[in-house]
């Protein structure tokens, strides 16, 4: 029990600190890396809740794929920090107002009885979180699950279609033709008289 709470407070401290750092550091690349740390530590806290499948998937999907592409984009941005900070004082009241409203909304929702959950009971060692999730996803929640999949597929196709534009004059390589090229297309042997 003592070890459990020590681990929990250790990761929560890192989580809160890196979340604060993420919105306060000047350099956007540092901010993205702090966000990665936030994801990683929340995955650790999920593991503590015996939600190992969700914890590992969080690392795999968000840290391993989404944030890599995010970092990729942010790295190539040329951001003028002075210009971005110029209107800070002017926008401050609006920002504070939005923040207060969000905090109030969260307080209202979290105080509802639905969130008043008991401490979760720990499961026996042979309990497989992954299998339970799989069974639920493919029986009870099969339609929402499949529909979410189709929506994502449509989004992928839409994104690809947006970036595709056929230029009729562009030169393209044909890999099939490149691979099937043989010697007779590249080399011509000629016999010459020596003089």
């Amino acid at each position: 029990m003592l070890i459990q709470s020590t681990v929990f407070y250790f990761f929560s401290t890192i989580l809160v600190a890196s979340a604060m750092a993420m919105i306060s550091v000047r350099n956007p690349v540092h901010a993205v890396l702090f966000l990665v740390l936030v994801f990683f530590t929340s995955a650790a806290i999920w593991l503590l809740l015996e939600a190992e499948f969700l914890g590992i998937t969080l690392v795999l999907v968000y840290v391993g794929a989404v944030m890599v592409l995010f970092l990729f984009v942010v790295m190539m941005l040329d951001i003028n920090l002075a210009k971005m900070r110029a209107g800070f004082a002017r926008y401050l009241p609006v920002g504070v107002l939005v923040g207060v409203i969000m905090a109030a909304e969260m307080a209202v929702i979290l105080s509802r009885p639905a969130f008043n959950v008991q401490k979760p009971q720990s499961k026996p060692a042979d309990y497989s979180n992954t299998q339970e999730l799989g069974e639920l996803l493919f029986t009870e929640y099969i339609y929402p699950f499949e529909i979410a999949g189709v929506i994502l597929l449509v989004a992928i196709i839409a994104a690809i279609t947006l970036t595709m534009h056929k230029r009729s004059r562009a030169k393209r390589q044909s890999p099939a033709r490149q691979v099937s090229a043989d010697r007779s297309e590249r080399v011509r042997l000629v016999s010459m008289d020596k003089d």
């Binding site: 690349v29 540092h30 890396l33 990665v36 190992e52 499948f53 590992i56 998937t57 690392v59 795999l60 840290v63 391993g64 794929a65 890599v68 592409l69 970092l71 990729f72 790295m75 190539m76 497989s128 979180n129 992954t130 299998q131 390589q173 890999p175």
Partner: protein, 354 residues
Amino acid sequence: MAEWWSNLVAPFPPLLLTAVYMLVFILVLFACVAYTTLAERRVIGFMQVRLGPNRVGPQGLGQPIADAVKLMFKEMILPQDADRFLFRIAPLLSMAPALAAWAVIPFSEHLNFADINAGLLYILAMTSLGVYGVIVAGWASNSKYALLGSLRAAAQIVAYEIAMGFALVGVLMASGSLNLGDIVKAQQGSVLNWYWLPLLPLFLTYLIAGVAETNRAPFDVVEGESEIVAGFHVEYSGMGFAMFFLAEYANIILISGLTALLFLGGWLSPFEGVVPAHVFHLPVIGALLGSGAHWFLAKTSFFIFCFLWFRATFPRYRYDQIMRLGWKVLLPLTLIWIVVEGVLLYVKFPPWFD
């Protein structure tokens, strides 16, 4: 033997024991990594009809130690305007995931650090973290070559991770488990029951994607020396460079070990089902021929050798061809084979899926 050992260590707390085991294991792994670099130079030397390093110690066996001492005493140069903290931490980011993944690898039936349910997912998550070291190194170096190298690396690793993930989906469909020990046990029978045969396209995809993930030849455009000098680690010297170098070899050993576990039956003996069962109960020969950690190590060594062999054999791929191979060849191949496998599982196709 095992009982004698567990009696000996009984008075110590398990947490301390695990920590000591891990320390010993990491030291052994580092030794393996160091000697893989020597093996690479000797093997490629042999394939190119030259000697390779043979001056330090007998047969050049002292070479990795000499290299390590040299790199340790070299100055670590910090480029102008580099991001000091990220520049120093990047080699660690690239090394740590390669070591962390070993936590769930079973060496034999009872020999592993952690026997977790979602082992395969954990491995995927850890190997997908390795790219951060490369990207952060490229960005923090404040150098054009390094940045270009890291962009290439990020695109290549993200692309091949998808094909790799689908190959693993095939393995977990066949075994019905994400636990690495159960995956090996599901392959029991004989050499023909190992997953390399029923999942042959996925096996080849996994091996090719593994070479691409570790940025090894013929997919080493990330550090293609004729174009971008050394890629993401061009600005590193001394121990910083050594860490990247070691991380690359640690990843090779990891991918080789995983290929052995997932497709070649891990610790299972190839003689199973070939020689009569009573042979395995003979005193010495039985232990050698029977299943055990030595077979896992032998299979892993074979794949490490394949990595070196590829490097000496194939010319480097062009960048657009790498992307084409990943997205247009390997990815559709794995998708098709997953459907085929689904059908085979549904009809309970003997002898693999019954």
